[in-house]
Symmetry: C2
Subunit: 409 residues, 2 copies
Amino acid sequence: MSNEKQEAVSLDDPVELVVPGFQAAAVKAGIRGKDRLDMGLIFSEKPAAVAGVFTTSQVKAAPVLLDMEHLKKGSARAILVNSGVANACSGAQGMALARGTAALVAEALKIEATEVQVCSTGVIGEQLDPAWFERGIPALVAELRQDGFADVARAMMTTDTVPKVEKVNFEINGHEVTILGLAKGSGMIMPNMATMLSFIMTDAAIASDVLQDMLKKATDQSFNVVTVDGDTSTNDTVLLLANGVAAHETIVSMAAPEAHLFQEALERLTRNLALKIVADGEGATKLITVRVQGAASRADAEQIARTIANSPLFKTACYGEDANWGRIFAAAGRAGIAFDQGAVDIFFDQVQMVAAGLGLFANEEAATEVLRQEDFVVTVDLHAGKESCEIYTCDLSHDYVSINGDYRS
Amino acid sequence: MSNEKQEAVSLDDPVELVVPGFQAAAVKAGIRGKDRLDMGLIFSEKPAAVAGVFTTSQVKAAPVLLDMEHLKKGSARAILVNSGVANACSGAQGMALARGTAALVAEALKIEATEVQVCSTGVIGEQLDPAWFERGIPALVAELRQDGFADVARAMMTTDTVPKVEKVNFEINGHEVTILGLAKGSGMIMPNMATMLSFIMTDAAIASDVLQDMLKKATDQSFNVVTVDGDTSTNDTVLLLANGVAAHETIVSMAAPEAHLFQEALERLTRNLALKIVADGEGATKLITVRVQGAASRADAEQIARTIANSPLFKTACYGEDANWGRIFAAAGRAGIAFDQGAVDIFFDQVQMVAAGLGLFANEEAATEVLRQEDFVVTVDLHAGKESCEIYTCDLSHDYVSINGDYRS
């Protein structure tokens, strides 16, 4: 797209992290002690079309259940987020708290409670103290400002080592459009904090049913193709708000050329956010792309790629910089998808280690060089069709065990 | 069973490790250097009924493919095993080698090649040198003896820290019957050596079709309910030979009372072997039983128990002795089985940490005490039915990462 530019986003220059018609703020509400930003608020000055994608877990946290209910309205004005306590497995008390915080936000902003989305991340099973919100929400509303998004990105961090933001600017029919995304966490996370959250704000004008289709499609190509340890959270949530301030004609169909422009920008933004999550995976030292190609169907390719990407034997070999194609082959074999083992090729970047099911040991040194990089692609070609899938993951290191095993001891 | 005794098995007293009508031997064939037993042979003096259970992986090693072919005969006389090279992903050359070694054994023992089962464990993708077998097989045949099984148990070890043997004696209609089992390895294994092998010899007289049903049933209750890291090998094999030397009337139906006697003894033996494999899992410091009960079906219970048992977040928490029930709850939630999160109870041994979906934080200290043990049970009760399943696993430690990540570096 020639009319598009991707800006370098710097957290040290918060003025850049703005989207017309949106405000944000974060405060130290006391959930995580005195000195940590732990509560954030995002506010749209106009009613915004809203789309949401939530955890597929059977065990859904209270805020997820509330957000799914509120999402039916199709428009929203605010997102409230806290870290420290997940408000998951918290029963009727937790549900009442989630509902109560949405009401507090609505009252302070003079909007409807159903226009408020609430998100939590942190320890499962503990209860949030209403007092934190009774103090925090008025402070957040008082501090709302255009350049408050960097603070929100920090307030939603748990074991993240860096805040994660992405921004894309482009034009729709001569109107400048911005998409700003915040994200936190990953599958490979601290005890009880296994949550991935992302909030995406745009001033584009898009009907809410189209927006939902766009977000679902973008999520399937980004957050849903990264895996750190295969664990899925009770709280995973992606929200997309579009407030129409850019004032182009509203996009009402996925088939419109403008929809295609927006979709492409949205997918690049969500993909970059997802890759930042993997790269910041607990203990991760390498970003690994597992590509399965030549499959009979995309579902086959994805099943095999996921099985490889979640194999502890494969992930520890990557950590050890060991070009251990046998583990890749073995993981593919147990994925439950039929294929001819005598047709399989395996590559580390461009270095072929398996040809028609047999190892090319002469290439082992070159393959080991590939694994010494911080970022590489493992390709498995089944030669059984034309479909493919890429899954993004990281290695399994000593630090992963330390972070997750030694946390409370 | 009143007529049954289970003997304490000691490898230092190899005379005990005998089964009437079977002989065994192991040699240093040079596959793993000069000083390691790496090739073994088991011989039945009479034709024995044979049953086999093999890896479900799409990627099957050459010996697995050959054994499945030979198994159709229904009787066998010999098992040849080597460690060091798995003969997997080895193409036509590997298949020719497997077939050639069976022929060499047959020639030396004056039996049919189809009466020989061959098993390999070790590095995937490398080729075995025929010279190792041309020297090794005559030496094995020359050394066959009744008390050679302890040596075979050692010769089949890869990353195992101890050889694994079990023996059961009982009576069928006044005839003393012995079952002797050898096993090696586990899912959590050294690079390219992810193989579980078990050879079970008995002097009972059992028709081969009944024997196959018995072995399948016993495997489902033992080797198939242990998991170390969820990885499945290209070479996994369990073989059961019954030579009838005990001279009781041949068991020809699973419905016979004698079949029940044998089945019970077989299941205790295979279960003990399976638990020895988990306890010797790479880097394992704890043996964990994950029990899911109150499920609508056994399949539901098993799916949830396996998802918990393979969760890296759960396994690292066990290593860290952290009574982190949120991770158990979260893993259950993503298993793909519908349940009411508000009905769930979770226990560490007898200590309840979750009641009707809510945490009992007052019990955390007592639960932590349970996790300090080397062996404990995690129970998840769904209160949705009467079915249950137990899966056995171990924790995920720093040593697992070291063993699997640092191997070739």
